[in-house]
């Protein structure tokens, strides 16, 4: 487990970067994972086709919050083209920890909110699960 809940993950969870209101935000999107109640709002200020600033607000598990926090660091200053190619693999690499199938939705919630903010899209290149992966949904 120390594999997964490493110091930097817990640090991002407890001290998330780039949080709070984003004055002058040009794009904002709120997304939730209703299965666990995780919520993330991503706000972007896009200037000249670049992410001039990014902030998020959220609550939820360590994985979703750390993942979103790391993602904001990753996208700041990037062009929209560079942002577009961020895929699930990149998120996993950013996290640098093993993500079990049940936790994939947690890890990707920030990306989903980001893409919603940037494009208002509900699908995002590279966000889809690869064939063969089982999706998670909620029952007992």
């Amino acid at each position: 487990m120390d594999d997964m809940y490493r110091d930097y993950i817990l640090d991002h969870y407890r001290n998330p970067r780039n949080t709070g209101d984003l004055p002058g935000a040009t794009h904002t999107y709120h997304d939730t994972n209703p299965l666990c109640g995780d919520e993330i709002t991503m706000a972007l200020r896009i200037e000249d086709g670049r992410v001039a600033d990014v902030r998020f607000e959220g609550k939820g598990c360590a994985i979703s919050q750390a993942s979103a926090s790391i993602l904001t660091e990753d996208v700041k200053g990037k062009t929209l083209e560079e942002v577009r190619v961020i895929d699930r693999q990149r998120i996993f690499e950013n996290l640098g920890i093993p993500i079990s199938p049940a936790r994939v939705k947690c890890a990707l919630l920030g990306l989903k909110a980001l893409k919603g903010a940037a494009w208002g899209l509900s699908t995002w290149p590279g966000e889809e699960e690869p064939a063969g992966a089982a999706k998670r949904t909620g029952t007992e």
Partner: protein
């Protein structure tokens, strides 16, 4: 009467296949089992039995949302089964496959969730005299409730659909066409693709009952062109409790769910509920996930043998049996006279012996067949008989079993001193 192995000229290796089915080596009343009731349900290979037992013994947990390894494994096996079914049918997307208990629930799902929304007073539903009750009664009841009409297309003397009547019905602008692919009562294979094309051209939504087709031949939903297809797993080597509705995603997306409860929701408040995504929107409560995993194993098995080979094998058996039965005086054989439009099912009557007596005498010989109306009372009325005796094949049947059936017919005549 020993069941001898199939000759090498047959398209599949029946001896090897039979070894996979434990029940096929059992005896009935001291005679080797000759199981010819496959249109009712199929037997199961060890691969399917083991796949279901493995879940229980190795990693069982409830699917979806479980944040632990066993639940992830069970979920992966369940969703993997869905992908196998989607591939088998060549569905455009895995989420077009909804697991249900059986073909019957599938038709009802469409009748409630699509039909009650779209079929209005005065609308026309087109059905056929070949339909199993499961693809007729839901539409009859819907029609009754909303004041729609049902046109029941007839068959000719050999049990082929009256294309003239069908074409005429299409001119009346039906809202829904609900037809079977293969008749369970006669073995007639309908020209489903053509019928679907005519119905689509007429603006109808089309449901195809694939209960007797999907187990026995390659069915490609994209090629078929229908809107919905239903089938049952238990007729294709899988456990009862498995089955699917395939539906076009655009339609399924717009449909309101049928059963409400856990797993099919995304958010519930006192005032309102938001639905889950496809396909889970239509799968309320804990699915029969072990049955579905069994269906996945059954699909693997069928694809390994090859559905074209299975179809060819059944054609040969059907031809062989029809030839042998035509030698016997005093038999009435129903359905098409040629193999062109029929496969896998031979319905008949022995003059002077009621089908129930036939089946009882056959049973004493180890020969299992159905006797009755086969949930085809409209067809029985058309044939003018209350019941028939029906033999139906699957991949593990042999010509020796056809011979056993012929022997049983002679035995029945002897018992009845005919």
């Amino acid at each position: 009467m020993a069941v001898v192995s199939a000759r090498s000229t047959l398209p599949i290796d029946v001896t090897r296949i039979r070894a996979d089915f434990p029940v096929l080596s059992r005896t009935v009343h001291g005679k080797p089992l000759v199981y010819l009731d496959n249109a009712a349900t199929s037997q199961k290979p060890r691969q399917v039995i083991d796949a279901t037992r493995e879940v229980f013994e190795e990693y069982n947990a409830n699917i979806h949302r479980g944040v632990y390894e066993f639940s992830e494994r069970t979920t992966a096996a369940f969703e993997g089964a869905r992908e196998k079914v989607a591939r088998l049918l060549n569905a455009a997307a895995t989420r077009e496959v909804i697991f249900v208990r059986n073909a019957t629930e599938g038709v009802n799902l469409v009748a409630y969730a699509w039909g009650r929304e779209h079929i209005r007073s005065g609308d026309l539903i087109v059905s056929t005299v070949l339909e199993h009750h499961s693809n007729f009664v839901p539409w009859q009841q819907l029609a009754r409730d909303v004041g729609a009409q049902i046109a029941v297309i007839d068959v000719d003397d050999e049990g082929r659909l009256r294309r003239d009547q069908y074409a005429a019905a299409m001119k009346r602008g039906p809202r829904l066409v609900a037809i079977t692919y293969t008749s369970n009562g006669l073995g007639t294979v309908l020209p489903a693709k053509e019928l679907v094309a005519e119905a689509k051209a007429a603006g109808a939504t089309v449901l195809v009952d694939g209960a007797q087709a999907v187990p026995h031949q390659k069915v490609d939903v994209r090629d078929l062109g229908a809107d919905f297809l239903v089938f049952s797993g238990h007729k294709m080597l899988a456990p009862p409790g498995s089955g699917a509705v395939w539906g076009r995603a655009e339609l399924l997306e717009r449909m309101r769910p049928f059963l409400f409860g856990g797993d099919m929701i995304s958010r519930v408040t006192v005032e309102r509920t938001e639905w889950n995504e496809l396909p889970w929107k239509f799968e309320a409560g804990t699915s029969s996930y072990v049955d579905a995993i069994g269906l996945g194993a059954a699909v693997d098995y069928l694809e390994t043998v090859g559905l074209d080979a299975i179809h060819e094998h059944e054609l040969r058996l059907t031809g062989y049996l029809l030839d042998r039965m035509r030698e016997i005086p005093g038999l009435t054989i129903y359905g098409p006279k040629t193999l062109e439009d029929r496969v896998g099912v031979v319905s008949f009557n022995i003059d002077g012996i009621h089908p129930h007596d036939v089946a009882t005498i056959f049973d004493a010989q180890g020969v299992c067949v159905r006797a009755g109306h086969h949930c085809n009372q409209l067809l029985m009325a058309k044939l003018g008989v209350p019941a028939t005796t029906r033999a139906s094949f699957y991949l593990y049947n042999t010509t020796a079993e056809c011979d056993a059936l012929v022997g049983a017919i002679h035995a029945a005549k002897k018992v009845f001193r005919i």
